[in-house]
């Protein structure tokens, strides 16, 4: 497949493309991150008027919400939308599509080789202003920027899977090179028709990507080690999740947790007093509200194999539990059992939703 090179920064290039798509009427709306300089905050904008794209910052390394979650609520429509997503957001969205919670049908997905995002508090504290310039340099050299989310630092899937257009950022976003857009699909070609820039068959620069990958894999090992403490077991779980306040923030920001009403908030988990009395008489003490750990175990079983490690959960946890790391780790283990990779392919069916004869030969 071909690619387009525009003589501008990657970010400007993408904004330009969105402008073009809106003005040429190829899309009805564009989904991209925006910056509100007045309050120094970021949000997602569903933009229909090209002139409003000026405050767009499509490639900003910030994730206020996982775009997959945002898209799912608007993508089931016959309106044409172009969305700029981070690789993990796109993967999350694909997982949602598999669950009928979204549709790729009228969507043009634009993603990019992602250097990872900064935690929310760097935005709140304004610290991000200093961090951003450094950030660009570091990812240019395929290194890992400081202060990014730990799961980002440990993320080896920073090259988008099944995006229509991939903007090359890692390794080649310096103005000299310009903005490189790889057109991966027919749709991409068709949509970019009439859009300026020089066509070429330029491929990714493998060296920097490789360098990044190695760095990330190393980080991942460290991360996983850090959350394992000394061996598994319930005590370790208690150590980690013991201080959970049960706000369920992790599930409400999780793109995969799409349930309107989480089972753990449903009537199934309202207990009659005899339940408590019985436990009390057996154990002499019990925690209120109950099921603090159970909630996380339950969530693990419900979604871990679809976890894309975006790190939103850790970011919103009021007591700094390394939720993301735990889930990413568990997720990879469970997914591996089925040789499954969340968000790799829409056609790939979700493990626990199908039964294959050849699964677990040893069981039979």
């Amino acid at each position: 497949m071909s690619s387009i090179i525009i003589d501008t920064s990657a970010s400007r290039g993408v904004t330009g493309l969105l402008k073009f798509l809106l003005e040429s009427g190829k899309i009805d709306a564009a989904l991209t991150m925006r910056n509100d300089p007045e309050n120094n905050t970021y949000d997602f904008g569903l933009i229909t008027d090209a002139s409003n794209l000026d405050e767009a910052v499509p490639l900003i390394p910030v994730m206020t919400v996982n775009a997959g979650q945002v898209l799912s609520s608007i993508s089931i429509s016959r309106k044409k939308i172009a969305a700029v997503l981070k690789p993990c957001e796109l993967r999350a969205f694909v997982e949602l599509v598999k669950r009928e919670k979204g549709s790729l049908e009228n969507l043009l997905t634009i993603s990019y080789t992602c250097g990872g995002v900064f935690p929310l508090d760097t935005v709140i504290t304004g610290q991000i202003k200093e961090l951003l310039p450094k950030y660009r340099k570091t990812i240019l050299n395929g290194e890992i920027p400081v202060n990014t989310r730990d799961t980002c630092r440990a993320c080896e899937h920073f090259i988008p899977m099944n995006a229509d257009i991939t903007v090359s950022v890692i390794g080649e976003c310096e103005p000299g090179v310009g903005c490189v857009m790889h057109l991966n699909t027919e749709r991409a070609v068709e949509f970019t028709e009439g859009f300026g820039g020089e066509r070429s068959d330029r491929k990714f620069d493998p060296s920097t990507l490789k360098k990044t990958l190695d760095a990330r894999l190393a980080e991942k090992e460290k991360l996983f080690a850090s959350v394992t403490k000394d061996g598994p077991g319930l005590d370790r779980l208690l150590d980690t999740f013991g201080k959970c306040v049960g706000c369920h923030g992790c599930s409400s920001v999780c793109p995969i947790c799409y349930c309107l009403l989480c089972d753990f908030e449903s009537a199934n988990f309202d207990y009659n007093l005899p339940y408590f009395e019985e436990h009390l008489s057996r154990k002499g003490a019990l925690r209120l509200p109950p099921d603090t750990i159970f909630f996380h175990l339950g969530r693990l079983t419900h979604m871990s194999f679809s976890c894309v490690g975006c790190g939103m959960c850790s970011d919103v946890c009021p007591v700094d539990i390394p939720v993301a790391a735990m889930f990413k780790k568990t997720g990879e283990k469970t997914a591996a059992l089925f040789d499954y990779l969340p968000g790799r392919d829409v056609e790939e069916s979700i493990p626990v939703m199908v039964y294959k004869e050849e699964e677990f030969p040893d069981i039979g």
């Binding site: 016959r78 309107l260 009403l261 449903s266 009537a267 309202d270």
Partner: protein, 572 residues
């Protein structure tokens, strides 16, 4: 609210929807002010809906006989899944077109009338503007109708029998007018005899004594009336057509269970206690009497005499006792005080009888005679501004402002009529609200004075408000009228269809809805810790729906989704 959505997009929505949109020209009324042809092309070209086919047409007068036939024919031949009518106010013809739908396979709740006459053509002169508005309304209607769901009337078997609470004149009158071979009446009286207060009232009507006596006989003699004396109503559950009642008899303390289709409350009233006001120095022991005790005396053989047994030589009759305290005029006292005055005069012409009154209130067309009789009999009538008693010494201020004193052998007070003691008990038992005066609150002061918020429960006699014997009987017959014309043996009742339902999954049982429901249609299921709607009682008013913070409630045919989508569409 997924589960709701699924219901709302019931079976038929799964198939391809075919929406008929019929616009009534209403002659020049709509066609003259709105460009219907443009609307028809615009709407037909709407491509907002996947899997929805739109058929858009106009017609001269849809409400006319041929119009209705045309519509029926169109619905059948096209096999519409939904129908939108652009015409006049639902007040005019909603039921007309619902009627048309009922003749076809189209569920009437999958139709919607959009008012483009009163809202558009009649109020907007600019044709362009009117057209745009009408079109947006119709688009909204389509968006909404697509989210409406089939509703079905569930006819209920009814029990024609009637429970009557209170064995006074009102209760007995109701019992007699209601009882028949196919309608039994259960008459429950808490005391040991029928007749209530009326027994003590001598000749309010000529020959009243006998009248009451006869009534009691005919009640007791009536095979279709079952009388429970010394019995109180312990518990009531149910609704119009199907009430389950527990009666507790004082003798054998066991519960009798009965069923009835309606309940008539004739709990009666009682007299204002003059002790509540210091003005009348009433003790009940000296020569100051209430009108009721005097009525009793006259009913007896030796007439109205002093405690000594002697004839009073002078009697003061004092009106409006408690009127100010209660802030209502009982409407009967003037009349019976005139009567008592005449009785005293009859008893002996020498008795000086003086009436102290504020206003003469004789609201019945024949009451005036009483007044003339009293005057003729030489009763002194003194109009006063203010009055107070020390024993039988009356000091008063005349309307002219002059102050004056007189003393009498005997003083008779006319206390206001007030609700009987157990009114609150029944209000609570039957979930009928009380009004500011403590009487039962009627559904509507003017158009439905005997009905209550709990359909099937009727209030008559002094339980409704201060009343004399004849008005009590009148109200009793009115309740009978409602029951006889609504609870017809063998026929079924069709309860409200667009009722509220509560999502078991989302309800947390906070009870907001329960508080705001005036019909007592919601109860709380403590075992599950949620609120539940009794669909047979619910009238679909939607109060509860508004009171629920988590949107666990939903009033059928008026769901948020339906309303929002209509507005969304109309506004875009």
């Amino acid at each position: 609210m997924k589960e709701f959505e699924m219901q709302e997009s019931g079976q038929d929505r799964k198939l391809r929807a075919k929406v008929g949109v019929y616009i009534c020209e209403c002659g020049p009324n709509i066609a003259g002010k709105v460009d219907l042809d443009r609307i028809i092309t615009d709407i037909s070209e709407l491509d907002d809906y996947q899997d929805v086919e739109l058929v858009v047409k106009k017609y001269g007068f849809l409400c006319s006989a041929p119009g209705k036939e045309y519509l029926e024919e169109e619905i059948n031949s096209n096999g519409f899944t939904h129908l939108v009518i652009g015409a006049c106010s639902p007040r005019d013809h909603d039921s007309t077109f619902m009627g048309v739908c009922k003749k076809t396979d189209l569920n009437p709740y999958l139709y919607r009338i959009i008012n483009i006459r009163e809202h558009c053509s009649w109020v907007i002169d600019d044709k362009e503007k009117a057209t745009v508005k009408a079109e947006s309304y119709i688009r909204g209607g389509i968006a909404r109708v697509l989210r409406q769901s089939e509703l079905f009337e569930k006819p209920l078997d009814i029990n024609p029998d009637v429970l009557i609470i209170g064995g006074g004149v009102a209760g007995m009158e109701a019992a007699l007018s209601l009882s028949s071979d196919d309608r039994r009446v259960f008459l429950v009286e808490k005391t040991d005899r029928l007749g209530g207060v009326s027994i003590d009232l001598s000749g309010i009507l000529p020959g009243q004594g006998e009248v009451i006596g006869k009534k009691i006989e005919s009640v007791l003699g009536n095979g279709n009336i079952r009388v429970f004396l010394n019995t109180r109503v312990e518990n009531v559950i149910g609704f119009l057509g199907n009430f389950e009642i527990e009666l507790l008899s004082e003798e054998n303390t066991e519960i009798t269970e009965i069923m009835s289709g309606a309940i008539v409350v004739a709990a009666g009233g009682t007299l204002f206690d003059p002790r509540e006001s210091d003005r009348y120095s009433y003790s009940g022991s000296d020569e100051v009497y209430t009108s009721l005790s005097i009525e009793k005396m006259f009913a007896g053989d030796d007439g109205a005499v002093l405690r000594s047994g002697k004839q009073p030589s002078s009697v003061a009759l004092i009106h409006c006792v408690g009127r100010e305290e209660k802030n209502y005029c009982s409407g009967i006292c003037c009349s019976y005080m005139m009567k008592l005055a005449c009785f005293f005069k009859k008893q002996s012409a020498d008795i000086q009888v003086t009436e102290f009154y504020r206003d003469i209130c004789l609201p019945k067309k024949n009451d005036q005679e009483r007044f003339s009789e009293a005057q003729a009999a030489g009763v002194a009538l003194i109009r006063i501004k203010d009055i107070s008693l020390k024993g039988t010494n009356v000091s008063f201020e005349r309307i002219s402002g002059d102050k004056d004193k007189q003393s009498f052998d005997m003083v008779v007070l006319a206390p206001a009529l007030e609700p009987s003691a157990d009114t609150e008990y029944f209000a609570d038992l039957l979930t009928v609200p009380l009004d500011e005066f403590g009487f039962f609150q009627e559904v509507h002061k003017m158009t439905n004075p005997v009905g209550t918020a709990t359909d099937g429960v009727f209030i008559v006699g002094a339980a409704h408000g201060p009343k004399g014997v004849s008005d009590s009987m009148q109200f009793a017959r009115a309740s009978a009228g409602q029951i006889l014309t609504r609870l017809i043996p063998g026929e079924k009742l069709i309860p409200e269809v667009a009722v509220t339902e509560i999502s078991e999954a989302y309800c947390t049982g906070c009870g907001n809805c329960l508080e705001v429901c005036v019909y007592g249609a919601i109860y709380s299921d403590d075992s599950r810790g949620i609120s539940v709607v009794n669909e047979a009682v619910c009238r679909g008013c939607g109060n509860c729906f508004g009171s629920c913070p988590s949107g666990a409630l939903r009033t059928k045919h008026f769901t948020n989704t339906q309303l929002y989508r209509e507005v969304d569409e109309a506004l875009r």
